[in-house]
Amino acid sequence: MKWWLTKAGDPTGKVAGNTSMEDVVQQSVLFSSVERLLGWGRKNSMWPFHFGLSCCFVEMATAMTPKYDLARFGAEVIRGTPREADVMIIAGTVFIKMAPVIQRLHEQMMEPRWVISMGSCANSGGMYDIYSVVQGVDKFLPVDVYVPGCPPRPDAFMQGLLLLQDSVGKEQRPLSWVIGDHGVIRPEMPSQRERLHDHRQQMTQFKTPDEI
């Protein structure tokens, strides 16, 4: 699908080309499949659930503030109720006392719904291998993206969100119960570690901690 932006105030007629019929049609008519259009819409308006568990949540909230500005990716509309949210970010430690509550909140989100696990605690229990902590939220919830870090920097969280958007944009979901197969077809998402391995290996110069 191709799309572009025009500046506000630009007369709509002021288009590239020689304003022939062909040019105008090309720039104002959009061909796409319904499936892709929906994917595009879902991808660019992900509404996160206002849900935080622990320290990681502060970094997630920081991602909404001007320096990072999550609004650039259409995901700054935080919803206070799970019923209006698309993505649940498990930002923080998953406590055993909290697990049944998290489970219920996840159930209350409407399909399609996604889960980002943010931070080592949510990924695996992290540094808290202790009696009151569940060793990773994937013990009871399906996770779409894992963001490593303790806490992940806001940038890392945003990268996780972008990866999820990428996958959501390509996801195929049944349009109605009478059309097509009923399953969700998820795109293949390669492991970031493998994808970036060569690039990372090329880094040989590291700044010493003696300078700022």
């Binding site: 503030t65 001007p66 697990a99 049944p100 219920r104 808290y128 202790i130 009696y131 009151s132 009871f140």
Partner: protein, 581 residues
């Protein structure tokens, strides 16, 4: 020579009522027989000259697992520890009383200090010690369905020792059922003479509670009749963790107690460790520590400032304040490499020297920030709606504050000029000039006034650090400093062995107990450490300011409306990890 508390107690209760114990922190510590402890506490609170009016802390120790015998014998199974504070004397006092038996019981002191309520519940929850006469002895941190008492030595520490975690539907139902609120259990009525009360559940997931906190309100229309806070959703077992991490590797866990306060937590912990080890910190390291602590105080107060305004409906301040917080983090990142959890202090100093160019960063911030604070005054503090929603809301008096263990800005907003950095200076604060801001009405607005002024004072301290940063070592040469200074290792076998052991096993801290009370961002914070001469602590207890503050919620929200509750919560400035640990 004035007579000491110990002498006063033994004059009144007999010689056998007092055994003076030696500790490394010079806090007067006595052991008393369990029959007498309640009477002694009553006496200390109300009858003694210059009384100990604040119950600073109450905790227990499971004594059954000492590797070595203490003082040549092993007399008790459990010990209860009461820590009191007297403002008149400017002195802490620690009382211990030993208990025998597998699941001992003891008398409550909730009739002396209502604030003992939650502390006793915590001891029950963690150790299984029951308190006779307690108004509501229930688990407080762990789920009600929990079996066992986590801080007992026989309880497993690791989640991976307890089998895989499964969350079946019936388990969810069971847990949800256990979480159901039953007013009768808390002695709350469902009706008054002319009205039916409504019970409103807020949390554990709610945007206004700043984390996983649950409060149940008993409402008559919009008015709060009573409130029941339910905590423990954020319990990460930090105290149990200390029993298996080495003294050195526990430092990152402290970062995560008050997770907005960063290195302030490191400091509270390390001061106690250094007391135990008898380590002196070089001057440069002290000043570096103080500079970082004050920067973190500013960062923490900025989060509070923004979110507080947001709680009251002002949506933009939080964006400004988080942007300024990023400026603080720029400095912190440049120095420590980390942001929220820098894990940067070490036993005997700091992790490394300041990087080249740190002074420019700090200077820029000092030039930049006062202007922003003035702007925020106009934006928030002078805002009419902000004032209306905070003035006269959530009032408590100075007496109530002391009674309930309120510390920090909440205490200073009641007119008491008391800051631990000034009154009992630690870690080098005695060398700095700054004022203690106070306010007098004890309401939410005054708490805000105090915090805002504190940011200015912190900035003053940072400026002095910048101007007078001494030259010298950033870490002590003491053999227990960890990791030890590397350049010595190649000179003689003694230092090489120390280096090898300290790096592989971690330092062995000599036996004893110590606690240093610090003025953290939210109030008084201290780590009560007991060493039995090992590479890990025998018992670590973390006294956090937010725990007693949260306990006060029912008292200070009665009679206000639901909307006021959010002002009260926001004005209190707590962090869930600081409550539940």
């Amino acid at each position: 020579m004035p007579i000491t508390v110990t002498e006063e107690i033994s004059a009144r209760f007999g010689e056998d009522a007092v055994i003076t114990l030696l500790t490394r922190d010079e806090t007067p510590t006595i052991r008393t027989p369990r029959e007498k402890v309640v009477a002694i506490l009553q006496y200390l609170k109300s009858d003694i000259n210059m009384p100990f009016r604040m119950l600073y802390d109450l905790t227990a120790i499971d004594e059954r697992a000492y590797k070595k015998e203490q003082n040549g014998h092993k007399p008790y199974d459990f010990t209860l520890v009461y820590t009191l504070f007297s403002f008149e004397r400017n002195e802490f006092l620690r009382l211990k009383t030993g208990l025998h038996g597998e699941f001992p019981t003891h008398d409550t002191i909730t009739h002396i200090w209502p604030a003992a309520n939650w502390y006793e519940r915590e001891v029950y929850d963690m150790f299984g010690i029951r308190f006779n006469g307690h108004p509501h002895l229930q688990r407080i941190l762990m789920p009600r369905t929990w079996e066992g008492y986590p801080l007992r030595k026989e309880h497993p520490a690791r989640a991976t020792e307890m089998g895989p975690f499964k969350l079946f539907d019936d388990k969810v139902d069971r847990e949800q059922h256990a979480m159901q609120f039953r007013p009768e259990e808390w002695g709350l009525k469902r009706h008054s003479e002319d009205a039916d009360f409504m019970f409103l559940n807020i949390g554990p997931q709610h945007p206004g509670t700043h984390g996983v906190l649950r409060i149940i309100l008993q409402l008559d229309g919009e008015n709060i009749i009573d409130a029941v806070p339910d905590i423990g959703f954020h319990h990460r077992g930090a105290e149990k963790m200390a029993e298996r991490q080495s003294w050195h590797t526990y430092i990152p866990y402290t970062d995560r107690i008050d997770y907005l306060g960063g290195v302030n937590n490191n400091l509270a912990y390390l001061l106690a460790v250094e007391k135990l080890g008898g380590i002196d910190v070089p001057l440069r390291a002290q000043v570096i520590r103080i500079m970082l602590c004050e920067l973190f105080r500013i960062a923490s107060h900025l989060v509070w400032y923004g979110t507080f305004a947001q709680d009251l409906g002002q949506l933009s301040p939080v964006f400004y304040m988080f942007t300024d917080r990023e400026r603080v983090f720029e400095i912190i990142e440049a120095i420590c490499g980390g942001r929220m959890h820098p894990n940067w202090f070490r036993i005997g100093g700091v992790a490394q020297d300041l990087p080249k160019g740190w002074d420019t960063l700090v200077k820029n911030f000092i030039d930049y920030f006062p202007r922003k604070l003035r702007e925020y005054d106009k934006m928030v503090m002078k805002n009419y709606l902000f004032k209306v929603r905070t003035k006269g809301i959530g009032i408590y008096t100075l007496e109530e504050a002391i009674e309930w263990g309120v510390t920090g800005p909440g205490l200073r907003a009641c007119g008491l000029e008391w800051d631990m950095r000034k009154k009992r200076p630690y870690g080098g604060y005695e060398n700095f000039a700054f004022e203690i801001p106070v306010a007098h009405n004890g309401d939410c607005y005054d708490r805000a006034v105090v915090r805002v002024e504190e940011m200015r004072q912190s900035l003053r301290i940072v400026q002095q650090c910048l101007e007078y940063m001494p030259a010298g070592d950033f870490k002590s040469h003491h053999p227990l400093a960890t990791p030890p200074v590397k350049q010595h290792t190649m000179h003689d076998i003694e230092t090489l062995i120390h280096h090898f052991l300290n790096v592989s096993w971690g330092p062995v801290i000599p036996p004893g107990e110590a606690m240093v009370c610090t003025e953290a961002t939210k109030g008084w914070n201290s780590y009560y450490l007991i060493s039995d001469g090992n590479t890990a602590s025998y018992r670590t207890h973390i006294r956090t300011p937010s725990f007693p503050h949260m306990q006060m919620i029912p008292l200070i929200s009665k009679g206000y409306t639901v909307a006021d509750l959010l002002s009260i919560l926001g004005g209190m400035d707590y962090v869930l990890a600081d409550i539940d640990r």
